[in-house]
Symmetry: D2
Subunit: 361 residues, 4 copies
């Protein structure tokens, strides 16, 4: 199980940056759920480069749903989608195919796949492959929304510019706000963040940041103790996405310097807690408070500035300049991918949990 | 797949805090590997409370290997182990069984398992269940060591006391140093950290911290792109362990404020990089540099100070005092558990990778 | 996943014929199901040798439920059981440990596990290990019965003596009849079959036969198209049990000589069909008619008569006489094991199916 | 895991009979294996209707490999393929969409997928979906062949016409012979079998039969004890294919009437046995003798003769005539599908087995 994720609801991914088509298969999606293609397209739009300064590779994302949808509803059969790759300039890559780009997968791919990998544009490792995740993940967002479960991802931090974190009491509105924007932030920091991106682009450099994900109205008891904890399943899904290098739930690394008496979430109003330091999860299961987690996002490794590389044929070190325009920050475009992976993970765990009821009444 | 983890090498966990025995089954462990029971016992000892101020529940950890070992070697059949629970005082728990302890799993368990869960001492959620993980994980540590792969976990931070992080050039010695100690730190901070723990204990409070894991000599190419990334599989394993609320690889959240030109790991000496900001992983696969990651560890939620609780029967809020002595910090005892989960995960991914060779000659 | 089976409800098996204990872990069993230990013991009794002429190794099957049960109900946590091995005479095996018993696993085990396997009494391959399957499988039988689903396995054929097959209209009574007996047959053939077993025993030989499994009141739609078809999942479970060498659903091999016009099950009364040639399954899913399948059971390979063997050390051929008393037919004792594996498989598939409802209302 | 099969090498299937495209994804296929598209096309040709009397729906099978292949070799990334559906006449199906065809999946699909399923031409249940299995399975056949492992499937029986079974000593030649033919038989029965098919077609009826699969040169020790037995994994794969209703290994149901002394395979020449009653498998693992198993194949359920049906809307019984031309026997076309599923299963189990070596030297 390498390019598949999920137990009951499984997503299988395929494709390379410069192949004709990329795609994915979503299996285990129950029959009878209305498919909202407008929303699917809206999600694809959010993933596409659109800002001045983002990568010049703009794809139309012509997609085709091959199966599993009939008369506008899911059929219960696997839903397969392919998306065309149109804007591929493979020649750019041929001339530097032996040079390992720093912090890219070139070198590890060469070692694991023994030189047989498709090296063009990162091949199967390319962020391009997140497009089908978004297309099919959008269906999970819709399905959860119908059950009242909301998910939103915003840019909590970009270099030194910070957005406000989700609040416990206004999170529904904040998620709605975030999901309504192409540049997902809660407070009024969009222009400042865009300015940071432009500056990085002008320098031929890139910037990283922090994404915050919020989920509201998830029922209590989703997840499992131990090896399928909600934190574990979500983190596995998150680290599937290139560029994510850290995750923390609730206070996360902030727990390290707090005493237990301040870290614990005391019960205030019935089972509601005043604080939500645990990010809505206890013992691996959702506790009824909003699910909150942060993701550390690396600066885009592709930069225009010259870097030290290694020639994988000769094993000699050499200077490398990666030509073309690059995304100074993938974090904006990544936010919808993260929301989709979150939705797929939660829907899978809900399917496991809900099956139990049959034997319990 | 809830209480099992791993694709080829799978660990299945069972037991409750106050049952007669807890245990685990390790399946897919290849035949012919020497079983080092002295090392197994050493690992169990590290997990046991031993410091003044740690929990008063000291277990002898009488274990029995039920299967899969014959004449001192693994047979290829599943290795099952049980460990006795001796020091259980269930009556302590009966009187407060309806009161949800803050930041514990009591409330989520009540909701998911509808009141049928074994509530005594946290039941199946108890940290006690990590003992069989350690026992069987020790076998994976040994197997990896025979292939030259070393793993060590140390306390990087306890409240405000900090140890030095692993260095790229002396990591082998540092891992050896860390593994030789009951209190795993690299520099001379043991007494300061113990003092912090004692202070917390005296206050009836607890403290959290950060663990750092280092792995050296892992071959290049372990892990998979996308859904079985090395980061993803490791994080899923780590969040299995109660109290872990964050993980970051290499620079992790530090990436957020760096430009790409400083964040990228430039190739210096052949495929060796000068920095190791990516923590030894690119594109989800190991890149030959040491694997480095940090774990945020929550303060132990069991404290002696009075807290706000909810009565799960009446849903009325009430004050709660958890009696008995509590671990002021589980981080020391957790370090060996983390090393074991790391070893199991890496061994599993190596088994997948190595099978490919058969068809490749 | 070698010693585990099931997607949501997983059974993990461990142990060897001559270890101190064997056991299993059942994970994913929903909370709140009453545990009927009397029934569990009754099932274990059915698996034990009890007839004159069956193997002399009679075990008391002292078992211990280690986890997952509290106050007589399942807790939702994994249910682990161990069963003691008492009647082990390992010395019998030491002197012939290099001689591969024909049609046993000795030779394949030697090759796969490179001589490290526990060879005593077949080690991990021994039929003894079916005892924990029966113990935990009995819980699935009970859970299904509460939903009205009945399962029964009877000896359809023993050498040349034949029982009557299940009928479509009286199957509930026939299943009840079969389950009430230690020697599970529908018609009056018990004595004749026992006589066949005695004759084989007297000759130092053994006999095979056919088991028929019937399931009534399984809801429509259990199973999946393609790779998790009801036939596929059941057959995988059945072939887990040593000695099963064939399976056929409904008419099975009888289909080969029928025209489609006679083979098809015509709808007679609403969705009820007159014939049940497909054994209650269409397109991989249950169709509301009784599930019916037959299993070919090999004669016990352990016989007293001298046989040609190979010495696995020297690779020289030699005569072998297996000492001690042997089961002349394992088919009677196997029937409860088959019922248990059937119950576990159906419960697993029901859990998958029922989870879908949550998103469908 | 519904439309995926395999642990390390996984095949995921999608598509419907009347969608624009059907397809599959093969994941875990090692890098560096040469892709033989001529052989792939040859296999697709074998699956296509070609005989007089076979279904009138002839598809060109225009396929597109979307990923995982680069410069003629596998890259290690998932291999996705789509195949066009061109010859679809959906209107034929609209008028009878409420009538359940006997022994088809119409009724179970209606119940499980609540009327949302794509009913046209059987939708996702259609035998049409075996085309991508064949395309990608052909790659596994090639990979195994390079390791010397041969697989062949022939029609052992069609109604009352019988081919000769595989012999133990000439099986390589027999497999080669079978694989060289569009009508796969060993002896001179092709014309007789074709005559049987023509007769059935003339009557508007259909016929069933038995396929025999042979595998030679599989290494000893492939498969696992208990839940991933070679028999179990193969049977699960076989029952994925619609129309298979029985499987027997070696003597199979013939074991029922033999004494153990005749059923056991005595060792004759070192570890070679004279008989191969166990079909090359002991204890769930391959034993070095040829793997042999038979499959019961149901007559095609689509026939021209009038049949009793049920209207799934009104639940009233009614007569049904299925128009158009139908396959009088799918067994010929099924043989290559079976060979492909066998190859995929064996390759998966070999990948598991071979990974163990890394830790064993």
């Amino acid at each position: 199980m390498r390019n598949s994720i999920g137990n009951i609801l499984t997503l299988t991914l395929f494709g390379e940056s410069h192949g004709n088509k990329i795609g994915a298969v979503l299996d285990g999606f129950p029959a009878g759920i209305q498919i909202d293609e407008d929303f699917l397209k809206e999600c694809l739009t959010k993933r596409r480069p659109s800002l001045k300064g983002e990568t010049a590779r703009v794809e139309e994302d012509h997609y085709e749903i091959l199966s599993g949808v009939f008369h506008g509803y899911s059929t219960g059969a696997p839903i397969a989608i392919t998306i065309e790759n149109s804007n591929t300039r493979s020649k750019d890559y041929d001339k530097m195919k032996d040079l390992a780009r720093p912090s890219h997968a070139d070198y590890v791919a060469q070692m694991r796949y023994k030189g047989y990998q498709d090296y063009r544009g990162g091949g199967h490792f390319s962020g391009r492959i997140t497009a089908p995740i978004v297309a099919l993940g959008s269906l999970a967002i819709s399905a959860l929304k119908k059950k009242g479960i909301l998910i939103g991802t915003h840019i909590l931090k970009l270099k030194d510019i910070e957005d406000v974190p989700y609040s416990n009491d206004k999170i529904d509105k904040e998620i709605e706000c975030v999901n309504s924007k192409l540049f997902p932030v809660i407070s009024d920091v969009e222009e400042q963040m865009k300015e940071v991106m432009r500056e990085a682009a002008d320098l031929g450099d890139s910037v990283g940041g922090i994404l915050q994900v919020g989920v509201s109205h998830l029922p209590v008891g989703v997840g499992e103790p131990w090896f399928s904890s909600l934190e574990g399943e979500l983190s596995k899904a998150m680290f599937s996405i290139g560029g994510v290098k850290g995750i923390e739930f609730g206070l996360g690394f902030g727990f390290a310097s707090l005493p237990g008496s301040k870290a614990n979430d005391a019960y205030e109003e019935k089972a509601k807690t005043r604080t939500n330091n645990n990010g809505g999860i206890n013992g691996g299961l959702s506790n009824g408070m909003p699910i909150l987690f942060n993701l550390a996002v690396r600066p885009t490794p592709s930069i225009s500035l010259p870097q030290n590389s290694v020639n994988m044929k000769t094993m000699e070190n050499t200077k490398l300049v990666i030509e073309g325009r690059h995304d100074p920050a993938i974090i904006r475009r990544m936010s919808i991918v993260i929301t989709c992976m979150t939705a797929l993970t939660l829907m899978d765990l809900l399917l496991v949990k809900e099956g139990e009821g049959y034997f319990q009444d």
